[in-house]
Amino acid sequence: MAQVLQVGAGSGGMPVLDMICRDPRISRVTLIEPDVYKPHNVERHLFPLCAVGEPKAEVAEQWLRERRPDLDVRVMTCDLLDPGSQDAIAAAAASADIGVCAADNEPAKYHFDALMRRHSKPWTLGEVLSGGIGGFVHWFVPGGPCYGCVASHLQRAAPAEKPPAPDYSQPGGAVAETTVPASKAAIQAIASLHALVTLALLADPAGYAPGFTSLLWTLQRVPDVFDEAFRPYRFRVARSADCLICQARPTPTSSEELDVALDQALARLGDA
């Protein structure tokens, strides 16, 4: 019997959650998802049109209960980075056997990575590329490369742009997407790979060796980007000895000592 902690039940996260939870080994799932199901989600989501306006976490819970009545489903309708929810999220991570990240923003991915490393849990991450031209599946185990090592190796960067300003002409309306949306078929293809990697990793976290750390699967031929469709690229990423994200450096152990040390350092540098 295994417990899963998943963040994200959007168009990419929900099919992964659905496929993973069909596996009889899964006995409990905790889902973190803050968003409400919007009309523009319907085109690419598993949920029906009548669920528009409901929190995605609650619709996901209902979806899973209808298919696996024996499954213990727990939902947290909060943001992964919500300061007030960190104790509950840490408790869910501590009791999970595996983590599944289907978040679509870099701060959440780094935060989930730190959470899983802190609790020494394996986890997976799926990413559909803009326009559905392909996607990545990554897997992580304690002691292996962190998300920072992988992202640095794959030469990506955190977005420097600010989030788009709200549309005051249409309060509460759909926010225009700044990337080209992927089709449901493309999302489903990458979600299936993500679910396969997750279930295989769960079966043997210590011995899992698929020959990659990150798998890029192309779905379309795109000039100057991908030479051909349906081609796998396997990236073997080693843990970086000088990664600023995962390399342990000595710091005070208790949070009180940490606060004191930080206050002293900032006072010292304020008077430099």
């Binding site: 300061p83 962190c146 960067a157 955190a158 990664c243 600023l244 994200i245 000595p250 940490l258």
Partner: protein
């Protein structure tokens, strides 16, 4: 949830950022040392740079989601309107997915001092642009 109010953020500051700031300041003329202060959920570094002819006052802000999100640097000294300068005299220094390594913010490899070195390079380009009308580095792609 971030740099100054999470354990991970505080540990990053104490183990990575503060040591490199102290190393930067070591033996440096006091007028050019980095001074650090809290501002809400951000940490602000104030400092002076002299890339060539002039001395510029700058401010680099480590926002709440730093280091995932790159630091924001702005020049407090008035500048002429020029390329790669954003609103509020904020320097345009990072481009997601850039093919040039130094134009791509990498939280696993860069510290706030890297951002200060990038600001120095930007100001050196500004002084050349001021003289010649040409920005000496190619656009980040």
């Amino acid at each position: 949830m971030g740099l100054l109010d999470s354990e991970a953020g505080k540990r990053r500051l104490l183990s990575v950022e503060i040591p490199v700031i102290e190393r930067y300041n070591e033996g440096r003329d006091s007028a050019y040392k980095l001074r650090v202060g809290r501002q809400g959920t951000s940490l602000v570094l104030r400092y002076s740079l002299k890339p060539g002819h002039n001395v510029y006052q700058l401010e680099t802000r480590l926002v709440s989601s730093y280091p995932t999100v790159p630091p924001e640097t702005r020049v407090l000294t008035p500048l002429k309107h020029c390329p790669h300068l954003l609103e509020g005299q904020t320097l345009c220094m990072w481009r997601q997915g850039s093919t040039r390594m130094t134009s791509r913010w990498d939280p696993a490899r860069f510290t706030c001092v890297f951002a200060i070195q990038a600001a120095w390079r930007w100001l050196a380009c500004y002084e050349i642009w001021h003289e010649t009308g040409e920005w000496p580095l190619p656009e980040a792609k």
